[in-house]
Symmetry: C2
Subunit: 359 residues, 2 copies
């Protein structure tokens, strides 16, 4: 692969992204920095086609990049420019200052991305694997009716109603709550497992059979905790690009198939994935560009966009990059937040430093 071929490939991809039309040898030759004649370029393009980086829609048309062509372009050739300062300021304005609640911060970022890229924005909140159960409460709210409240060190609160066979006496309730706190508080979300709860059901049933629905309820809540939160916004933008199948787009917006698995993968920096490369997340010619943001050094979620493969990567990647960086710093920054504080132990005083989070 000589250097000129790479430059030609880059030129074809750039041009194709810009115009959406197949790119011919003449067009490439006219571009800045191309010192060779169309004929030479034709030869190289034929070679690039041989190698699987370019293809022709039909015999007498120009070339368009293949998947492999895009891959090579993105991973090896293209280098996204730095964002100019005024753009950074603009993004800062859109995000909001350090006193913006985290949730809003992320929503603003999504809005900014849809606005700037005219694509759908994707936002996920990572499962807080390392945050710990900080409090479990069982509150009687009616005849044989109880509400279970589960609170974690990262500020998630889950509740659930639960009906028992018999009413509990104050002592029984006391016993139960004590038992649960003993067994659960300080346990990380990642450590929670069915088996653990099965054992608790057994133990608790020995004391009083009808307590087991409560344990099961807590078990269900803990499953909720492990559910990744996923939002896709601005999905309508995807309908404007006609290289995407509308049907697939809508199905995706409704079910978000496969996205969750994809975002749970560990990776660092910007990640670009093509719809066709992944079996589950499957909008035909789409491209997913995401990055993870961190909170106090731990992955806290991811943020990115979904657009056509033919998207302006050079323009878009710096946006995603800057936003995740910025969010990471805003979240971890000096300002007090729920997590930082609560991590030091709500129910049992625990260790010292900071927070939950993960990896």
């Amino acid at each position: 692969m000589d250097d000129r071929k790479l430059r030609i490939l880059a030129a074809v991809v750039d041009e194709y992204i810009r115009t959406g039309e197949p790119v011919g040898s003449k067009a490439v030759s006219k571009l800045d920095g191309m010192r060779v004649s169309p004929a030479t370029i034709r030869n190289d393009m034929a070679a690039l086609e041989q190698l699987g980086y370019l293809e022709q829609p039909h015999t007498s048309a120009g070339r368009i990049p293949t998947f492999a062509g895009y891959r090579l372009y993105i991973d090896k050739i293209m280098s996204p420019p730095d964002l100019p300062d005024e753009e950074k300021h603009r993004l800062d304005m859109m995000l909001g200052g350090s006193d913006t609640p985290e949730e809003l911060l992320v929503r603003n970022a999504a809005a900014a991305l849809t606005e700037l890229t005219q694509c759908a924005a994707v936002v996920s909140k990572a499962v807080p694997r390392f945050s710990v159960i900080s409090k479990v409460e069982v509150i009687p709210t009616g005849k044989r009716l109880y509400v279970i409240l589960l609170i974690t060190s990262n500020g998630s609160i889950k509740n659930k109603a639960c009906r028992l066979e018999f009413d509990l006496s104050a002592e029984q309730l006391e016993f139960f709550t004590h038992y649960i706190e003993e067994n659960l508080s300080g346990v990380s979300v990642d450590e929670l497992s069915e088996e653990m709860f099965d054992k608790m059901v057994a133990a608790v049933s020995a004391y009083m059979v009808s307590l087991s629905p409560l344990v099961k309820g807590i078990c269900e809540l803990s499953e909720d905790l492990r559910q990744q939160e996923l939002t896709v916004s601005g999905g309508e933008k995807l309908l404007s690009c006609d290289e995407l199948d509308k049907m697939e787009v809508v199905r995706f917006i409704e079910h978000k198939n496969g996205l969750s698995e994809l975002l749970e993968d560990t990776f660092s920096g910007i990640q670009v994935r093509f719809g066709a490369e992944s079996s589950s997340f499957a909008i035909g010619n789409s491209s997913l560009i995401v990055s993870k943001y961190k909170k106090d050094g731990r992955e806290a979620g991811s943020l990115g966009i979904i657009g056509p493969m033919r998207i302006d990567y050079k323009k878009v990647i710096p946006y995603v990059d800057y936003l995740t960086e910025k969010i990471s710093s805003l979240m971890s920054g000096g300002d007090e937040d729920f997590d930082q504080e609560t991590a030091d132990g709500i129910s049992e005083p625990q260790k010292g430093a900071s927070d939950d989070g993960n990896r």
Copy 2:
């Protein structure tokens, strides 16, 4: 409006629904029960066009119904047939028995509707205006950090974290909880208002200024309670019908514009609304067919479908009708359920029934 004209209108609508093509006089004349010649029908069709019930896409095409035409057809002419017993059984199977949790019941109904009609299903849970606040708890969970828990008689549970300026002593907490319970328990969701909370903020601040965030928190939770829950499923089906604007469909699926207001209207029986008739809910040529289901005689939510205007009303309306009927009877039926019990108050012990339900 003589009878024959009505029959011709009906024939045109039926044919148009069946074929999707403009309907000509000859086609109508060939239909069962039409004893007159195409020429006669032509005259009547011209009259119907004059009256605004039919229109021609272009001079030499057949006729298609106008909005008014559909309206007349739906409201006055068409009479949807009764569902045959085997169909009813089929639907019963799809719904699930009387031991199915309410939420699942409704989800099943939606699934059945998308399946049977190949349209998007709409489900809403009515704001439980008449249910009352049955419990308010404030639980300390960390340094200056509290979780507010709000429970209503219909089983909704809402929570929210709240940060105060100072920590509360046990007495202060006691006082506050007591005050809140005194003022809120037994108050119906409908009666809750900003002013009410403003007054409470004032009263509570007199005792201790830093309590007001808690009241505000409760106020926000009460706003959540008044939020109607809305789900649209199977939205991808809408993309198959090309009379609907894909863009509008996706925008609608994402934001559900205007649907909530529309479903909050009071009406009884089946309601058919056209997208263009309503300013806010606006998918161009769409038709919304909904009915309300009840629980113990009170509106509990609505259920229906969104499809193209050119939908088979005769087939679809009986489905929606039967499903809402059935759900109403399953929910209110002999079987124990949360609301029955809790409606009479949880915090005050009262009569009896059973099950849970939440969120």
